[in-house]
Amino acid sequence: MLLSLAIWVPIAAGLLALAAGERNSRWVALAGAIAGFLVTIPLYTGFDAQNSGFQFQINLSWIPQFNIHYHLGVDGISLLFVLLNSFITILVVVAGWTVVESRVAQYNAAFLVMSGLLNGVFAALDAVLFYVFFEATLIPMFIIIGVWGGPNRVYAAVKFFLYTLFGSLLMLVALLYLYQKSGGSFAIVDWHKLPLELEAQKWLFFGFLFAFAVKVPMWPVHTWLPDAHTEAPTGGSVVLAAILLKLGAYGLVRFSLPMFPDAARELAWLMIALSLVAIAYIGLVTLVQTDMKRLIAYSSVSHMGFVTLGFFLFNAYGVEGGLVQMISHGFVSAALFLCIGVMYDRMHSRQISDYGGVVNTMPRFASLMMLFAMANAGLPATSGFVGEFMVIMGAMKVNFWVAAVAATTLIWGAAYTLWMYKRVIFGAVANDKVASLKDLNPRELIVLSALAAAVLFMGVYPLPFTEVMHASVNELLRHMAIPKI
């Protein structure tokens, strides 16, 4: 019931916001987003951390013809993403309060509907239900990028849509194959137990990998991300970075690892290699970006490389580290995109070279952004450190050199983030436009402070985040240790 509310409250609020008209839609959207977040809180407080299974389940027959069920439930792996998503939605609505001027009702409606659909992806325990939510999120995001985006928005929106659709369609064939193999069941839990030959596992693994790798995005199918991020409006970038990218990684843990453990083990070298390329090579690519949003977009690819690396180490440090990194990246990248949005709203430029000495005119903003930059670089006591450290520890257990390459991110991350920060924030005031900047208004301050609190809290005291995961992650690893062939 709670999960249904988490999905349908935002969607209903989105439709209400659409009906409320331009003027009132902001308040309706804010109320809807807050209500959406409030209904997810009992999920956390009522969650039994000792139980590795799915909780808050609801299972109704939906399309008996194909034995498709409206089956929802969360375990320790998916729970936090539902909360993260509902939390970020509030910030997105607030962040777009005065910035979005045209078609406000449609803007708010698109975000709220997407928020509900995203909760659906994380809560779905039926493969078709998962697929429906997974695909349906494309529609609002396509509209968000295309309508409220930058000058090159059409290219970015179409590229985003076609790239992700390509991946998901191959996954659809894989889903249908599993449906046949399992004797007519779309239940994810049934598929976890389904024995499969190695050959079939490998094909299916690749079928799913296309969908998830595009979403993560993994190198070399990441090229849609910088375009989409650069052209999307601030709110779009935030949701894209904080939540949409997590769908791919979540899919890997929910489908690929438990369903095809033997193929995952066989192909781990490939996944680790791709992850390391993302970490090291994309780290270098990030360094040379001149557009701030592009820079953060590339840094997202690099950070998500840590997530996929963690998953394919097959130990508790790696998997949990990957999950923690996903949550942390949700906070940090959202915050950084919001920071860039704050500057862009004032200067209408994302080029690093147009800035310099912002600290002189926006001290409060500069100090908050400092925190987020540090978190992005993975400094201890910020959330960015926890996940990366856990993954590197996990990698060290597997192979020294993998860990060594992964650890270079501490250098690249610090280099590109802090160098950008230095060029934008420090130094002498670059031009008159910078000189006339006004510091954060209360609305922006609230949004960024909320994220700052989250980043610090998670960095200093990650236990509330990790403790709910333990049981589910251990169960996953135990399940994976048994060959399915």
Partner: protein
């Protein structure tokens, strides 16, 4: 004639009512002076409603059992009732949607209404055919009406050219179909479809008889492919869709496809199941070629009607995926699911197609035909609701959830996968990815661009309401597809 005889023929009552009604409309219309043809249109709608009511009554009374009438020439089963109801709806939508368009252009004449009703009668006869003779009778009745309707605007060069092309190619395809039927008649000695099925099952055991039958089958499949409109028998589709007046395109794109689907079921599934291995192979090639050509060539079109024509070719290819997955190595375990998928696809496609062409009519006005992609520019600024309706149709054509088009694709691809045609399933999803590009372009024009043409849309309450219902049904069936799927399943299982 006593009451018992009358009741015996009750399952054919919708056809009789429609025939009488169409004649009545034809005569009444001679006395209608008004340009608006209110009386004729009202009468036509009453006739449609009466047909629908009778069909529902027949359906309720027969409860899904089969009835053979007129010495086995005519069959009334669950599938025929379902398809007929869909055809009434399509015809009704065509009447409501085209009225203003035709009136503005001085084309709202009795011919349109009468021909539409007679074409509908042809479709119904095709749907209920249980003999090669009835199949052909219905087909010709429908086709001749449609040829004339395409040329409705006789002063338009494009229309008359399209009508000529349609007629010549249609006649050729009818010839092919007849030739194939005569071969099978020669081998089996009967025109009655159930008897053909029994005879073929016996004959196909011997190799020489089988090759004779397959020779005939090739022509039957070619004739069918013409009517369904799949590659390489698709040439008429783009020209006819483009050249015909938009209301006629709407008519051609929905009902006749359903009738052609019924014809495929009657001829192939009911009549020649023993040759399934052969015709499935042929359909696989047709399906692959249609999905490829339809989706790729549609990208190059700047005219929406032409684009939708190529999209129709692609979609019929998808529909064939269901038809060709029924029998695996002589095993029919998969058949019900596969044909259900195809029927579901055909019905959903008809809804989408009527919605898309209805939208073109809705956006047209006196002196302006909305038929180019450019005309969709900035629709979201002119009318957000209209743009949303079109968005639903486009995403449904693409096959993105939560729209009905997704379940249609899911069902046929699932059928192909369970029949072991994995390569066909992968090809299908790849071509639907290609298709996504041009459907997205329409959405892009509507939402991302600014309008060039800022004339406010005319408010037409009845039209708008029906069009909204039409598009929203795609969303409704996208969220709750079960009722429609269950109906399709019941229709196929009762075959």
């Amino acid at each position: 004639m006593n009451l018992a005889v009358l009741l015996d023929h009750l399952p054919a009552a919708p056809e009789m009512i429609l025939l009488a009604g169409a004649c009545a409309v034809m005569i009444v219309d001679l006395y209608v002076k008004s340009e608006r043809r209110t009386l004729s249109l009202a009468l036509a709608q009453v006739v449609l409603a009466a047909c629908a009511l009778t069909t529902v009554v027949v359906l309720a009374l027969s409860g899904g059992s089969k009835y053979y009438l007129f010495h086995g020439l005519f069959i009334a089963d669950f599938m025929s009732h379902v398809l007929k109801l869909a055809c009434y709806l399509a015809a009704w939508a065509a009447l409501v949607y085209s009225r203003q368009w035709l009136l503005d252009r001085g084309l709202l004449r009795g011919e349109f209404i009468t021909l539409l009703l007679f074409a509908l009668l042809g479709m119904m006869v095709m749907i209920s055919a249980s003999s090669f003779l009835t199949v052909y009778l219905g087909l010709e009745l429908m086709s001749l009406c449609l040829y004339a309707m395409v040329a409705l605007n006789r002063d338009s060069v494009a229309s008359t050219e399209a009508a000529m092309k349609y007629f010549v190619l249609g006649a050729l395809s009818s010839g092919l179909l007849l030739y194939g039927m005569s071969m099978i008649y020669g081998a089996t000695g009967t025109l009655d479809i159930p008897q053909v099925a029994r005879a073929v099952a016996k004959l196909s055991a011997s190799a020489s008889d089988r090759s004779f039958l397959v020779f005939g089958l090739v022509f039957v499949v070619a004739g069918l492919a013409f009517k369904v409109g799949v590659v390489p028998f698709h040439m008429w589709i783009p020209d006819v869709y483009h050249g015909a007046p938009t209301p006629v395109t709407l008519v051609i794109s929905a009902g006749p496809k359903l009738a052609a689907f019924a014809m495929a079921i009657r001829l192939l599934v009911n009549g020649l199941p023993a040759l399934a291995a052969d015709w499935q192979q042929m359909l696989a090639l047709l399906a692959l070629a249609s999905m490829a050509l339809g989706n790729i060539v549609a990208i190059a079109q700047s005219n929406l009607k032409r684009m939708l024509a190529y999209s129709a070719i692609g979609h019929m290819g998808f529909m064939l995926l269901g038809l060709l997955s029924g029998v695996v190595d002589g095993n029919t375990r998969n058949a019900v699911d596969a044909y259900t998928a195809a029927l579901f696809y055909a019905l959903v496609y008809a809804i989408m197609s009527v919605g898309a062409f209805g939208m073109l009519l809705y956006l047209s006005r006196a002196g302006f035909d909305c038929e180019n992609l450019e005309d969709m520019r900035g629709l979201n600024r002119r009318s957000p609701w209209t743009a949303f309706l079109m968005l639903l149709v486009m995403f449904s054509l693409t096959g993105v959830p939560p729209t009905a088009g997704f379940y249609a694709k899911l069902a046929v691809i699932s059928a192909a996968v369970s029949a072991g045609y994995l390569w066909l399933a992968v090809a299908a999803v790849m071509f639907s990815l290609v298709g996504a590009f041009y459907y997205l372009r329409v959405v892009k024009l509507m939402y991302f661009d600014d309008p060039v043409d800022t004339t406010p849309l005319e408010r037409r309450i009845g039209f708008g309401a029906l069009l909204s219902a039409n598009s929203l049904s795609l969303l409704l069936f996208g969220i709750l597809p079960q009722p429609l799927m269950a109906v399709c399943f019941a229709a196929i299982i009762a075959l």
